[in-house]
Symmetry: C2
Subunit: 326 residues, 2 copies
């Protein structure tokens, strides 16, 4: 059996051949470069062919795990990926299985892959109760509980960006939910821009940039130099990250909450303050059993998670069923 | 196989013999009457003996499911039940198995039993993704997702009473968490008393009672007659119930959120308003797939859930193992 993990991002595809214990044996990647719909599927197939040509083994069954930035519908094997044009209900599993008749394919959402990457090969190795809080442009959580990843009625679990944390409801929350409005990368920039417009007396470092070009990276840079607007924005975000993580602890009783995504990253320096905030709110016994840590696989949790599902799926798969192609 | 479900409440024990499809064949109950520690275990054993004496079958294996008001530690079979003196780490499974050598015993928390009662025999029959929001003196959730109930690292899942919903953190939340402070039975009374103290000009129906004796039932009664303090307290609670339910929907993508416990009950009239509030906050695709309903098993969800786990546990149990007593 050959194990291939594929991480489909918004701008590129990373893929690798894994050994059973998670060592990357061969690697390949390609930029999407504006590709749409089936062109992206075709590119993925080419990358898998490239990887297979690098392996010495021939005529071997291939177990493919794919990490997608959106929703992986587990019953149909189709994918909704909002950043890839034409991927509303894209039949990815069928396409890969047609291209590689001796294959078994499993597709999971990025948030699910992140937690499986960490629990199989990263910071949470062997852990059966852990949650990955992915804070980037948006916010999602991957949930492993009692050793199983959750899916829900139609595979839309973990949409924590919509978490209600600060009433009353205001129209600002319409676009992507209350929690994201304050605490995603986009949200941090949004809050900073709002304060810059309001505080005409402010003359700090964030005034060096046109307001509309301020990003979360500017906010973190300014915060390092003690900027008051950056401190206000991140202080507010610490409260929200702490509340959201506390809610995860009270609901799931996990051993670990792992913070990752582009914002953690620089946000990792705030983990102590976030834990302190969470301690105020969470179920008091559970929070004492939970550690908050930063991802051990920055930028690669999705790829390792895709490798992990390829390996797991192969174990449960009845190999005989896949030889119908012969 | 004989299936017995036992619901241990704070003041009494209800128990029943169930048929495989959830019909109650025999029933027995007893008040705790101030019993403590092992006396409660002894009473439970007597009730099971009473039920067994009512069944015609002799020398048959017994599958016992128990619903407890607290935490059921799944690995050890011990129980933490704060309302029963001496039940900090009570070895209930061991005690029942010693008393009934031809038995198999499974213990679950009340919130877990509520959701299993509903999904096996109640409003959510056959449903694999549903959450039971139990609002009484406190608030907890029983979570069934992908057909499995969740347990977490040490069986403290579903402690939603501690959910962070309204920053900043205030000392009022210390006792039992933010969500309960506004929206449990105790919380409703607390908020009403606070307003009665603050609004000296108020002369409505809630003034008929000494402030310290006001309960959530007085609040619901006053609300029926259009009382402004009751409307304010319940309006605030509707916002919290809606936000908490929205968070459940965004995290779990369930088909159903079932409201039960003493407060739903009278609170069931507010379900329309609660759903409307949740629609503002929740992941927009998930909320359209979710229905909010009131329990179909008021007061008996725990007993039916205990029956359900007795039946389920027997199915997975290797009957041979239990004859060591012979």
């Amino acid at each position: 059996m050959i194990y291939i993990g594929i991480d489909l991002g918004g701008t590129k595809i990373n893929a690798a051949v894994f050994s059973l214990n998670g060592v990357i044996l061969h690697q390949a990647s390609a930029l999407l470069g504006g590709r749409k719909g089936p062109e992206v599927g075709q590119l993925m197939i080419e990358i898998v062919r490239e990887l297979l040509s690098q392996t010495a083994v021939r005529n071997e069954t291939v177990s493919i795990g794919v990490c997608v930035p959106g929703i992986a519908y587990s019953k149909t094997g189709t994918v909704w990926a909002p950043n890839i044009s034409g991927w509303e209900n894209y039949p990815l599993r069928e396409e890969l299985q047609r291209a590689f008749p001796r294959s078994v394919v499993l597709i999971e959402s990025d948030r699910t892959c992140y937690i499986l990457g960490e629990t199989n090969f990263g910071a949470a190795k062997g852990c059966e109760n852990a949650v990955f809080m992915a804070v980037g442009t948006g916010i999602g959580v991957g949930i492993l509980i009692d050793g199983m990843v959750l899916h829900g009625k139609s595979d839309i679990v973990g949409a924590i960006g919509w978490m209600a944390l600060k009433p009353p409801y205001v129209p600002e929350y319409d676009a992507c939910g209350c929690y994201e409005t304050y605490a995603s990368g986009t949200g941090l920039a949004l809050q900073a821009r709002k304060l810059l417009r309001e505080k005409s007396s402010y003359e700090g470092v964030l005034r060096s940039f046109p307001i509309e070009e301020i990003t979360s990276y500017h906010v973190f840079d300014a915060w390092e130099s003690g900027d008051p607007i950056a401190e206000k924005v991140l202080g507010q975000a610490v409260e929200m990250w702490g509340m959201a993580a506390a809610n995860i602890v009270s609901l799931f009783n996990p051993e670990l909450v792992i913070f990752g995504g582009g914002v953690f990253g620089p946000g990792a320096k705030l983990l102590g303050r976030i834990y302190e905030e969470a301690c105020k709110w969470a179920q008091p016994v559970s929070i004492r059993q939970t550690k908050f840590i930063a991802t051990a696989l920055p930028g690669t949790a999705g790829l390792y998670g895709a490798g992990a599902i390829a390996i797991q799926n192969a174990k449960t798969f009845d190999a005989k069923r896949i030889y119908y192609g012969d």
